[in-house]
Subunit: 249 residues, 2 copies
DNA sequence: CTTATTTGTCTATTTATCTAGACAACTAGA
DNA sequence: TCTAGTTGTCTAGATAAATAGACAAATAAG
Protein backbone atom coordinates (compact mmCIF):
# COMPACT_ATOMS: atom_id res chain seq x y z
CA UNK A 1 0.00 0.00 0.00
CA UNK A 2 1.44 3.29 -1.09
CA UNK A 3 0.96 6.41 0.98
CA UNK A 4 -0.60 9.74 0.27
CA UNK A 5 -1.00 12.49 2.84
CA UNK A 6 -4.18 14.47 3.24
CA UNK A 7 -4.37 18.18 4.12
CA UNK A 8 -0.80 18.60 2.98
CA UNK A 9 -1.41 21.33 0.44
CA UNK A 10 -0.87 18.87 -2.38
CA UNK A 11 -4.06 17.36 -3.74
CA UNK A 12 -4.27 13.59 -3.63
CA UNK A 13 -4.41 13.25 -7.41
CA UNK A 14 -1.23 15.26 -7.67
CA UNK A 15 0.62 13.14 -5.10
CA UNK A 16 -0.48 10.01 -6.92
CA UNK A 17 0.61 11.41 -10.28
CA UNK A 18 4.02 12.25 -8.79
CA UNK A 19 4.46 8.74 -7.41
CA UNK A 20 3.40 7.07 -10.65
CA UNK A 21 5.77 9.30 -12.61
CA UNK A 22 8.64 8.27 -10.35
CA UNK A 23 7.69 4.60 -10.63
CA UNK A 24 7.67 4.89 -14.41
CA UNK A 25 11.09 6.52 -14.52
CA UNK A 26 12.37 3.78 -12.21
CA UNK A 27 11.30 1.30 -14.83
CA UNK A 28 8.79 -0.43 -12.56
CA UNK A 29 6.27 -1.03 -15.34
CA UNK A 30 8.76 -1.90 -18.05
CA UNK A 31 7.57 -5.50 -18.33
CA UNK A 32 4.15 -4.65 -19.77
CA UNK A 33 4.78 -0.98 -20.61
CA UNK A 34 1.41 -0.08 -19.11
CA UNK A 35 -0.02 0.97 -15.76
CA UNK A 36 -2.17 -1.25 -13.56
CA UNK A 37 -5.92 -0.67 -13.97
CA UNK A 38 -7.63 2.26 -12.32
CA UNK A 39 -9.39 0.08 -9.79
CA UNK A 40 -6.15 -1.63 -8.79
CA UNK A 41 -4.39 1.73 -8.42
CA UNK A 42 -7.27 3.13 -6.39
CA UNK A 43 -6.97 0.18 -4.04
CA UNK A 44 -3.19 0.50 -3.80
CA UNK A 45 -3.30 4.21 -2.93
CA UNK A 46 -6.43 3.76 -0.84
CA UNK A 47 -8.42 6.44 -2.66
CA UNK A 48 -11.44 6.63 -4.89
CA UNK A 49 -11.15 5.55 -8.50
CA UNK A 50 -12.02 9.09 -9.67
CA UNK A 51 -9.03 10.45 -7.81
CA UNK A 52 -6.74 8.05 -9.63
CA UNK A 53 -8.39 9.11 -12.87
CA UNK A 54 -7.48 12.73 -12.17
CA UNK A 55 -3.88 11.71 -11.60
CA UNK A 56 -3.74 9.73 -14.83
CA UNK A 57 -5.42 12.55 -16.76
CA UNK A 58 -2.67 14.90 -15.62
CA UNK A 59 0.06 12.43 -16.64
CA UNK A 60 -1.66 12.12 -20.01
CA UNK A 61 -1.61 15.92 -20.43
CA UNK A 62 2.12 15.82 -19.71
CA UNK A 63 2.58 13.19 -22.39
CA UNK A 64 3.89 10.55 -19.98
CA UNK A 65 1.05 8.08 -20.63
CA UNK A 66 -1.67 7.52 -23.21
CA UNK A 67 -5.09 6.23 -22.13
CA UNK A 68 -7.18 3.93 -24.33
CA UNK A 69 -10.73 3.07 -23.41
CA UNK A 70 -11.28 -0.64 -22.96
CA UNK A 71 -7.55 -1.40 -23.16
CA UNK A 72 -5.70 0.40 -20.43
CA UNK A 73 -3.11 3.11 -19.84
CA UNK A 74 0.15 2.91 -21.76
CA UNK A 75 3.48 4.46 -20.96
CA UNK A 76 4.70 6.74 -23.74
CA UNK A 77 7.79 8.39 -22.29
CA UNK A 78 10.18 7.22 -19.67
CA UNK A 79 13.68 8.64 -19.70
CA UNK A 80 15.00 12.08 -18.96
CA UNK A 81 17.55 13.66 -21.28
CA UNK A 82 21.08 13.59 -19.91
CA UNK A 83 22.98 16.85 -19.89
CA UNK A 84 26.72 16.38 -19.37
CA UNK A 85 28.58 18.87 -17.20
CA UNK A 86 32.33 18.86 -17.10
CA UNK A 87 35.27 21.16 -17.62
CA UNK A 88 34.20 21.68 -21.22
CA UNK A 89 30.44 22.19 -21.03
CA UNK A 90 28.67 23.37 -24.19
CA UNK A 91 24.91 23.37 -24.54
CA UNK A 92 25.22 23.02 -28.29
CA UNK A 93 26.97 19.66 -27.93
CA UNK A 94 25.60 18.23 -24.73
CA UNK A 95 22.46 16.60 -26.03
CA UNK A 96 23.91 15.33 -29.29
CA UNK A 97 22.62 11.87 -30.09
CA UNK A 98 19.69 12.11 -27.72
CA UNK A 99 17.50 14.51 -29.68
CA UNK A 100 16.65 15.34 -33.25
CA UNK A 101 16.29 19.09 -33.06
CA UNK A 102 17.59 21.80 -30.79
CA UNK A 103 16.98 25.51 -30.58
CA UNK A 104 17.97 28.50 -28.49
CA UNK A 105 15.89 31.66 -28.40
CA UNK A 106 17.18 34.97 -27.06
CA UNK A 107 14.44 36.18 -24.74
CA UNK A 108 15.98 39.30 -23.35
CA UNK A 109 19.29 41.12 -23.16
CA UNK A 110 20.79 44.35 -21.99
CA UNK A 111 23.53 46.20 -20.15
CA UNK A 112 23.17 46.62 -16.41
CA UNK A 113 25.18 47.41 -13.30
CA UNK A 114 26.34 44.07 -11.92
CA UNK A 115 24.41 42.69 -8.95
CA UNK A 116 26.81 41.73 -6.20
CA UNK A 117 26.82 38.00 -6.88
CA UNK A 118 27.59 38.68 -10.52
CA UNK A 119 30.47 41.05 -9.94
CA UNK A 120 31.90 38.62 -7.40
CA UNK A 121 31.68 35.68 -9.80
CA UNK A 122 33.26 37.58 -12.69
CA UNK A 123 35.89 39.18 -10.44
CA UNK A 124 34.76 42.69 -11.38
CA UNK A 125 34.42 45.78 -9.24
CA UNK A 126 31.04 46.13 -7.51
CA UNK A 127 28.61 47.90 -9.79
CA UNK A 128 30.66 47.38 -12.95
CA UNK A 129 28.62 47.23 -16.15
CA UNK A 130 27.74 43.75 -17.35
CA UNK A 131 25.95 42.27 -20.34
CA UNK A 132 22.92 40.19 -19.41
CA UNK A 133 21.65 37.51 -21.81
CA UNK A 134 18.50 35.49 -21.21
CA UNK A 135 17.76 32.50 -23.41
CA UNK A 136 15.34 29.60 -23.54
CA UNK A 137 16.69 26.31 -24.80
CA UNK A 138 14.53 23.77 -26.57
CA UNK A 139 15.08 20.12 -27.44
CA UNK A 140 12.71 18.34 -29.83
CA UNK A 141 10.32 21.32 -29.58
CA UNK A 142 10.03 21.00 -25.79
CA UNK A 143 11.69 23.71 -23.68
CA UNK A 144 14.26 22.15 -21.35
CA UNK A 145 16.09 25.07 -19.79
CA UNK A 146 16.21 28.80 -19.27
CA UNK A 147 19.59 30.45 -18.89
CA UNK A 148 20.71 33.88 -17.73
CA UNK A 149 24.35 34.68 -18.53
CA UNK A 150 26.45 37.64 -17.58
CA UNK A 151 29.65 38.91 -19.23
CA UNK A 152 32.00 41.82 -18.56
CA UNK A 153 30.33 44.85 -20.18
CA UNK A 154 33.57 46.71 -20.74
CA UNK A 155 35.27 43.82 -22.39
CA UNK A 156 32.32 42.61 -24.50
CA UNK A 157 30.19 45.72 -25.03
CA UNK A 158 28.26 44.47 -28.07
CA UNK A 159 28.00 40.85 -26.96
CA UNK A 160 24.23 40.73 -27.33
CA UNK A 161 24.36 42.20 -30.85
CA UNK A 162 26.76 39.53 -31.99
CA UNK A 163 24.31 36.90 -30.81
CA UNK A 164 22.16 37.48 -33.89
CA UNK A 165 25.11 36.67 -36.06
CA UNK A 166 26.75 33.77 -34.21
CA UNK A 167 23.93 32.23 -32.20
CA UNK A 168 26.50 30.57 -29.92
CA UNK A 169 28.39 31.70 -26.84
CA UNK A 170 31.50 29.83 -27.93
CA UNK A 171 31.49 31.52 -31.34
CA UNK A 172 30.96 34.99 -29.90
CA UNK A 173 33.82 34.56 -27.43
CA UNK A 174 36.00 33.34 -30.28
CA UNK A 175 35.11 36.53 -32.20
CA UNK A 176 36.57 38.45 -29.25
CA UNK A 177 39.75 36.41 -29.48
CA UNK A 178 38.99 33.93 -26.73
CA UNK A 179 39.92 30.63 -28.25
CA UNK A 180 38.85 28.39 -25.40
CA UNK A 181 37.22 28.49 -22.01
CA UNK A 182 36.61 25.96 -19.26
CA UNK A 183 34.09 25.42 -16.49
CA UNK A 184 35.51 26.39 -13.11
CA UNK A 185 32.64 25.65 -10.77
CA UNK A 186 29.02 24.59 -10.84
CA UNK A 187 26.60 24.95 -7.98
CA UNK A 188 23.45 22.89 -8.18
CA UNK A 189 20.20 23.23 -6.29
CA UNK A 190 16.58 22.27 -6.75
CA UNK A 191 13.51 24.41 -6.17
CA UNK A 192 9.88 24.65 -6.99
CA UNK A 193 9.77 26.57 -10.23
CA UNK A 194 9.07 30.30 -9.96
CA UNK A 195 6.31 31.85 -12.11
CA UNK A 196 8.65 33.07 -14.86
CA UNK A 197 10.28 29.68 -15.25
CA UNK A 198 6.90 27.93 -15.16
CA UNK A 199 5.85 30.03 -18.12
CA UNK A 200 9.08 29.88 -20.12
CA UNK A 201 9.44 26.12 -19.77
CA UNK A 202 5.71 25.39 -20.08
CA UNK A 203 5.49 23.74 -16.68
CA UNK A 204 2.59 23.51 -14.25
CA UNK A 205 2.72 24.82 -10.65
CA UNK A 206 4.57 22.58 -8.25
CA UNK A 207 6.97 21.56 -10.99
CA UNK A 208 10.62 21.29 -10.07
CA UNK A 209 13.53 23.16 -11.57
CA UNK A 210 17.18 22.24 -11.29
CA UNK A 211 19.29 25.35 -10.98
CA UNK A 212 22.95 25.51 -11.92
CA UNK A 213 25.09 28.50 -11.10
CA UNK A 214 28.24 28.24 -13.18
CA UNK A 215 31.47 30.09 -13.79
CA UNK A 216 33.48 29.68 -16.98
CA UNK A 217 37.00 31.05 -17.33
CA UNK A 218 39.50 31.37 -20.12
CA UNK A 219 42.64 29.32 -20.02
CA UNK A 220 44.60 31.69 -17.83
CA UNK A 221 41.88 31.50 -15.19
CA UNK A 222 40.20 34.84 -15.85
CA UNK A 223 36.41 34.47 -15.54
CA UNK A 224 34.50 35.26 -18.73
CA UNK A 225 30.97 34.02 -18.11
CA UNK A 226 28.72 33.67 -15.09
CA UNK A 227 25.41 31.95 -15.66
CA UNK A 228 22.28 30.75 -13.90
CA UNK A 229 20.45 27.99 -15.70
CA UNK A 230 17.05 26.58 -14.76
CA UNK A 231 16.29 23.10 -16.07
CA UNK A 232 12.88 21.40 -16.14
CA UNK A 233 13.71 18.63 -13.70
CA UNK A 234 11.24 16.17 -15.19
CA UNK A 235 12.80 16.44 -18.62
CA UNK A 236 16.51 16.43 -17.97
CA UNK A 237 19.17 15.28 -15.54
CA UNK A 238 22.74 16.45 -15.07
CA UNK A 239 25.65 14.18 -15.67
CA UNK A 240 28.83 15.32 -13.95
CA UNK A 241 32.14 14.21 -15.36
CA UNK A 242 35.01 14.29 -12.87
CA UNK A 243 37.69 12.99 -15.20
CA UNK A 244 40.96 14.80 -15.70
CA UNK A 245 40.70 18.01 -17.74
CA UNK A 246 40.95 17.73 -21.50
CA UNK A 247 43.88 19.66 -22.96
CA UNK A 248 42.86 22.68 -25.01
CA UNK A 249 42.75 21.92 -28.72
CA UNK B 1 1.57 41.14 -8.55
CA UNK B 2 2.77 37.61 -8.05
CA UNK B 3 0.95 34.71 -9.63
CA UNK B 4 -0.65 31.62 -8.19
CA UNK B 5 -2.53 29.10 -10.26
CA UNK B 6 -5.85 27.64 -9.17
CA UNK B 7 -6.99 24.06 -9.77
CA UNK B 8 -3.39 22.99 -10.25
CA UNK B 9 -3.32 20.31 -7.57
CA UNK B 10 -1.24 22.56 -5.34
CA UNK B 11 -3.21 24.52 -2.79
CA UNK B 12 -2.84 28.28 -2.93
CA UNK B 13 -1.26 28.49 0.51
CA UNK B 14 1.35 25.98 -0.55
CA UNK B 15 2.20 27.85 -3.76
CA UNK B 16 2.52 31.05 -1.77
CA UNK B 17 4.72 29.38 0.84
CA UNK B 18 6.95 28.04 -1.95
CA UNK B 19 7.32 31.48 -3.52
CA UNK B 20 8.05 33.18 -0.21
CA UNK B 21 10.64 30.51 0.62
CA UNK B 22 12.38 31.15 -2.72
CA UNK B 23 12.25 34.91 -2.18
CA UNK B 24 13.84 34.49 1.25
CA UNK B 25 16.65 32.32 -0.08
CA UNK B 26 17.22 34.89 -2.83
CA UNK B 27 17.83 37.43 -0.09
CA UNK B 28 14.89 39.62 -1.09
CA UNK B 29 13.99 40.51 2.49
CA UNK B 30 17.52 40.85 3.81
CA UNK B 31 17.18 44.58 4.45
CA UNK B 32 14.62 44.25 7.25
CA UNK B 33 14.94 40.50 7.87
CA UNK B 34 11.16 40.22 8.02
CA UNK B 35 8.27 39.54 5.66
CA UNK B 36 5.78 42.17 4.52
CA UNK B 37 2.55 42.21 6.55
CA UNK B 38 -0.18 39.67 5.93
CA UNK B 39 -2.48 42.21 4.34
CA UNK B 40 0.23 43.41 1.96
CA UNK B 41 1.08 39.81 1.00
CA UNK B 42 -2.60 38.98 0.45
CA UNK B 43 -2.89 41.93 -1.91
CA UNK B 44 0.30 40.99 -3.73
CA UNK B 45 -0.77 37.38 -4.33
CA UNK B 46 -4.38 38.44 -4.88
CA UNK B 47 -5.78 36.05 -2.26
CA UNK B 48 -7.51 36.29 1.07
CA UNK B 49 -5.50 37.14 4.13
CA UNK B 50 -6.35 33.76 5.69
CA UNK B 51 -4.74 32.00 2.77
CA UNK B 52 -1.52 33.92 3.33
CA UNK B 53 -1.73 33.02 7.00
CA UNK B 54 -1.83 29.33 6.11
CA UNK B 55 1.28 29.77 3.98
CA UNK B 56 3.13 31.57 6.77
CA UNK B 57 2.02 28.98 9.33
CA UNK B 58 3.59 26.26 7.21
CA UNK B 59 6.84 28.21 6.84
CA UNK B 60 6.83 28.65 10.62
CA UNK B 61 6.44 24.88 11.09
CA UNK B 62 9.45 24.40 8.83
CA UNK B 63 11.43 26.81 10.93
CA UNK B 64 11.99 29.28 8.10
CA UNK B 65 10.16 32.15 9.83
CA UNK B 66 8.98 33.06 13.32
CA UNK B 67 5.68 34.94 13.81
CA UNK B 68 5.17 37.46 16.62
CA UNK B 69 1.79 38.92 17.31
CA UNK B 70 1.69 42.67 16.98
CA UNK B 71 5.19 42.82 15.53
CA UNK B 72 5.39 40.85 12.33
CA UNK B 73 6.96 37.78 10.77
CA UNK B 74 10.71 37.37 11.06
CA UNK B 75 13.06 35.32 8.95
CA UNK B 76 14.97 32.77 10.99
CA UNK B 77 16.80 30.70 8.38
CA UNK B 78 17.92 31.63 4.95
CA UNK B 79 20.79 29.69 3.43
CA UNK B 80 21.06 26.11 2.29
CA UNK B 81 24.06 24.07 3.33
CA UNK B 82 26.62 23.63 0.57
CA UNK B 83 27.77 20.13 -0.16
CA UNK B 84 30.95 20.02 -2.25
CA UNK B 85 31.27 17.35 -4.92
CA UNK B 86 34.57 16.77 -6.62
CA UNK B 87 37.04 14.04 -7.37
CA UNK B 88 37.54 13.55 -3.65
CA UNK B 89 34.05 13.63 -2.18
CA UNK B 90 33.67 12.61 1.48
CA UNK B 91 30.50 13.18 3.44
CA UNK B 92 32.45 13.35 6.65
CA UNK B 93 34.35 16.40 5.46
CA UNK B 94 31.98 18.16 3.10
CA UNK B 95 30.02 20.21 5.59
CA UNK B 96 32.93 21.11 7.86
CA UNK B 97 32.68 24.69 9.03
CA UNK B 98 29.01 25.01 8.17
CA UNK B 99 27.53 22.91 10.95
CA UNK B 100 28.20 22.08 14.57
CA UNK B 101 27.17 18.44 14.68
CA UNK B 102 26.93 15.65 12.15
CA UNK B 103 25.70 12.10 12.36
CA UNK B 104 25.20 9.08 10.15
CA UNK B 105 22.82 6.29 11.08
CA UNK B 106 22.86 2.87 9.44
CA UNK B 107 19.23 2.23 8.56
CA UNK B 108 19.49 -1.08 6.75
CA UNK B 109 22.05 -3.39 5.22
CA UNK B 110 22.36 -6.80 3.62
CA UNK B 111 23.71 -8.95 0.85
CA UNK B 112 21.70 -9.17 -2.37
CA UNK B 113 22.01 -10.14 -6.00
CA UNK B 114 22.98 -6.98 -7.86
CA UNK B 115 20.20 -5.18 -9.74
CA UNK B 116 21.29 -4.52 -13.31
CA UNK B 117 22.18 -0.84 -12.80
CA UNK B 118 24.36 -1.80 -9.83
CA UNK B 119 26.28 -4.57 -11.54
CA UNK B 120 26.84 -2.31 -14.51
CA UNK B 121 28.15 0.54 -12.36
CA UNK B 122 30.49 -1.69 -10.37
CA UNK B 123 31.61 -3.61 -13.48
CA UNK B 124 30.46 -6.92 -12.01
CA UNK B 125 28.73 -9.83 -13.69
CA UNK B 126 24.95 -9.55 -13.79
CA UNK B 127 23.47 -11.02 -10.64
CA UNK B 128 26.74 -10.96 -8.69
CA UNK B 129 26.34 -10.63 -4.93
CA UNK B 130 26.62 -7.09 -3.58
CA UNK B 131 26.56 -5.47 -0.17
CA UNK B 132 23.82 -2.88 0.22
CA UNK B 133 24.13 -0.15 2.85
CA UNK B 134 21.42 2.38 3.60
CA UNK B 135 22.20 5.37 5.81
CA UNK B 136 20.56 8.60 6.87
CA UNK B 137 22.82 11.60 7.31
CA UNK B 138 22.07 14.36 9.74
CA UNK B 139 23.51 17.85 10.17
CA UNK B 140 22.72 19.87 13.28
CA UNK B 141 20.04 17.30 14.19
CA UNK B 142 18.17 17.84 10.91
CA UNK B 143 18.31 14.97 8.37
CA UNK B 144 19.81 16.20 5.11
CA UNK B 145 20.32 13.10 3.02
CA UNK B 146 19.61 9.42 2.63
CA UNK B 147 22.18 7.25 0.88
CA UNK B 148 22.12 3.75 -0.53
CA UNK B 149 25.57 2.36 -1.35
CA UNK B 150 26.57 -0.88 -3.02
CA UNK B 151 29.91 -2.69 -2.87
CA UNK B 152 31.24 -5.92 -4.39
CA UNK B 153 29.97 -8.68 -2.11
CA UNK B 154 32.81 -11.07 -2.94
CA UNK B 155 35.48 -8.55 -2.28
CA UNK B 156 33.96 -6.98 0.84
CA UNK B 157 31.80 -9.74 2.34
CA UNK B 158 31.61 -8.31 5.85
CA UNK B 159 31.48 -4.65 4.85
CA UNK B 160 28.31 -3.94 6.82
CA UNK B 161 29.72 -5.55 9.98
CA UNK B 162 32.76 -3.36 9.88
CA UNK B 163 30.48 -0.31 9.77
CA UNK B 164 29.82 -0.65 13.50
CA UNK B 165 33.52 -0.42 14.17
CA UNK B 166 34.63 2.25 11.70
CA UNK B 167 31.49 4.31 11.07
CA UNK B 168 33.05 5.62 7.84
CA UNK B 169 33.22 4.34 4.28
CA UNK B 170 36.74 5.63 3.86
CA UNK B 171 37.95 3.84 6.98
CA UNK B 172 36.30 0.57 6.02
CA UNK B 173 37.83 0.63 2.56
CA UNK B 174 41.19 1.35 4.15
CA UNK B 175 40.73 -1.70 6.37
CA UNK B 176 40.43 -3.71 3.15
CA UNK B 177 43.69 -2.21 1.90
CA UNK B 178 42.21 0.47 -0.33
CA UNK B 179 44.24 3.52 0.54
CA UNK B 180 42.42 6.00 -1.64
CA UNK B 181 39.49 6.29 -4.00
CA UNK B 182 38.16 9.00 -6.30
CA UNK B 183 34.82 10.04 -7.72
CA UNK B 184 34.47 8.97 -11.34
CA UNK B 185 31.03 10.24 -12.25
CA UNK B 186 28.00 11.85 -10.66
CA UNK B 187 24.56 12.00 -12.19
CA UNK B 188 22.18 14.53 -10.69
CA UNK B 189 18.43 14.77 -11.00
CA UNK B 190 15.56 16.29 -9.05
CA UNK B 191 12.25 14.66 -8.17
CA UNK B 192 9.35 14.95 -5.85
CA UNK B 193 10.36 12.96 -2.81
CA UNK B 194 9.04 9.41 -2.60
CA UNK B 195 7.27 8.24 0.59
CA UNK B 196 10.35 6.56 2.09
CA UNK B 197 12.49 9.64 1.61
CA UNK B 198 9.73 11.90 2.93
CA UNK B 199 9.73 9.88 6.11
CA UNK B 200 13.49 9.44 6.52
CA UNK B 201 14.25 13.11 5.92
CA UNK B 202 11.18 14.40 7.79
CA UNK B 203 9.76 16.20 4.76
CA UNK B 204 6.18 16.96 3.83
CA UNK B 205 4.54 15.79 0.59
CA UNK B 206 5.50 17.78 -2.47
CA UNK B 207 8.98 18.32 -1.09
CA UNK B 208 11.85 18.05 -3.51
CA UNK B 209 14.79 15.70 -3.35
CA UNK B 210 18.05 16.03 -5.20
CA UNK B 211 19.29 12.64 -6.30
CA UNK B 212 22.93 11.87 -7.02
CA UNK B 213 24.01 8.62 -8.58
CA UNK B 214 27.75 8.30 -8.08
CA UNK B 215 30.58 5.92 -8.87
CA UNK B 216 33.81 5.90 -6.87
CA UNK B 217 36.86 3.99 -8.03
CA UNK B 218 40.22 3.17 -6.59
CA UNK B 219 43.29 4.70 -8.13
CA UNK B 220 43.72 2.12 -10.85
CA UNK B 221 40.19 2.86 -12.04
CA UNK B 222 38.47 -0.20 -10.62
CA UNK B 223 35.03 0.77 -9.27
CA UNK B 224 34.57 0.18 -5.54
CA UNK B 225 31.37 1.98 -4.62
CA UNK B 226 28.14 2.79 -6.38
CA UNK B 227 25.71 4.99 -4.49
CA UNK B 228 22.37 6.74 -4.78
CA UNK B 229 21.96 9.69 -2.45
CA UNK B 230 18.76 11.65 -1.88
CA UNK B 231 19.20 15.16 -0.49
CA UNK B 232 16.47 17.36 0.98
CA UNK B 233 16.58 20.06 -1.67
CA UNK B 234 15.43 22.81 0.66
CA UNK B 235 18.28 22.17 3.10
CA UNK B 236 21.27 21.63 0.89
CA UNK B 237 22.77 22.43 -2.48
CA UNK B 238 25.55 20.74 -4.41
CA UNK B 239 28.75 22.50 -5.21
CA UNK B 240 30.65 20.95 -8.08
CA UNK B 241 34.38 21.46 -8.27
CA UNK B 242 35.84 21.01 -11.75
CA UNK B 243 39.43 21.75 -10.89
CA UNK B 244 42.25 19.39 -11.71
CA UNK B 245 42.39 16.23 -9.58
CA UNK B 246 44.27 16.33 -6.33
CA UNK B 247 47.20 13.90 -6.22
CA UNK B 248 46.71 10.99 -3.86
CA UNK B 249 48.23 11.57 -0.45
C1' DC C 1 -22.03 -13.92 -29.74
C1' DT C 2 -21.01 -13.80 -24.93
C1' DT C 3 -18.37 -12.57 -21.15
C1' DA C 4 -14.92 -10.39 -18.41
C1' DT C 5 -12.19 -6.44 -18.08
C1' DT C 6 -11.03 -2.12 -19.19
C1' DT C 7 -11.88 3.22 -19.45
C1' DG C 8 -15.73 7.01 -19.87
C1' DT C 9 -19.65 9.64 -18.01
C1' DC C 10 -23.16 10.98 -15.03
C1' DT C 11 -25.45 12.27 -10.42
C1' DA C 12 -25.24 13.07 -5.56
C1' DT C 13 -22.95 13.82 -1.25
C1' DT C 14 -19.20 14.80 1.89
C1' DT C 15 -15.02 17.03 3.09
C1' DA C 16 -11.38 20.47 2.52
C1' DT C 17 -9.91 24.89 0.87
C1' DC C 18 -10.60 29.64 0.09
C1' DT C 19 -13.12 33.94 0.76
C1' DA C 20 -15.33 37.66 3.52
C1' DG C 21 -15.88 40.41 7.38
C1' DA C 22 -15.67 41.71 12.21
C1' DC C 23 -13.22 42.29 16.19
C1' DA C 24 -9.69 40.97 19.84
C1' DA C 25 -4.82 41.04 21.36
C1' DC C 26 -0.41 42.71 21.11
C1' DT C 27 3.56 46.11 19.85
C1' DA C 28 5.90 50.35 18.97
C1' DG C 29 6.05 55.05 18.60
C1' DA C 30 4.05 59.70 19.12
C1' DT D 1 -2.13 57.28 27.14
C1' DC D 2 -3.54 57.17 22.56
C1' DT D 3 -3.09 55.59 17.90
C1' DA D 4 -1.66 53.08 13.89
C1' DG D 5 -0.18 48.83 12.47
C1' DT D 6 0.57 44.26 13.31
C1' DT D 7 -1.01 39.14 14.20
C1' DG D 8 -4.88 36.04 16.40
C1' DT D 9 -9.59 34.22 16.49
C1' DC D 10 -14.16 33.61 15.40
C1' DT D 11 -18.41 33.01 12.26
C1' DA D 12 -20.49 32.21 7.80
C1' DG D 13 -20.65 31.12 3.06
C1' DA D 14 -18.70 29.87 -1.59
C1' DT D 15 -15.76 27.03 -4.32
C1' DA D 16 -12.93 22.96 -5.19
C1' DA D 17 -11.47 18.21 -4.18
C1' DA D 18 -12.64 13.69 -2.97
C1' DT D 19 -15.95 9.91 -2.27
C1' DA D 20 -19.72 6.76 -3.65
C1' DG D 21 -22.36 4.31 -6.80
C1' DA D 22 -24.45 3.16 -11.22
C1' DC D 23 -24.14 2.31 -15.81
C1' DA D 24 -22.29 3.18 -20.72
C1' DA D 25 -18.74 2.18 -24.19
C1' DA D 26 -14.80 -0.05 -25.95
C1' DT D 27 -11.63 -4.11 -26.14
C1' DA D 28 -9.99 -8.77 -26.12
C1' DA D 29 -10.59 -13.52 -25.58
C1' DG D 30 -13.24 -17.68 -25.51
Amino acid sequence: MEFVERRSGISLWRQIADQIRIAISNGEYDDRNMLPGEIALAKRFNVNRHTVRSAIASLAREGVVRVEQGRGTFITRRKRLQYPIGRRTRFSEGLAGQIRSRDRVLKDHGLQPAPSHVSRALALEPGATVVRLETVNTADKLPVSRAISWFDGNRFPDFADRYEKYHSITAILKSYGIKDYLRVSTRISAHHADPTTLKDLQLSPGAIMLRTEAINAEIGGRPVEYSNTFFAADRIELDIDHSAPVPAN
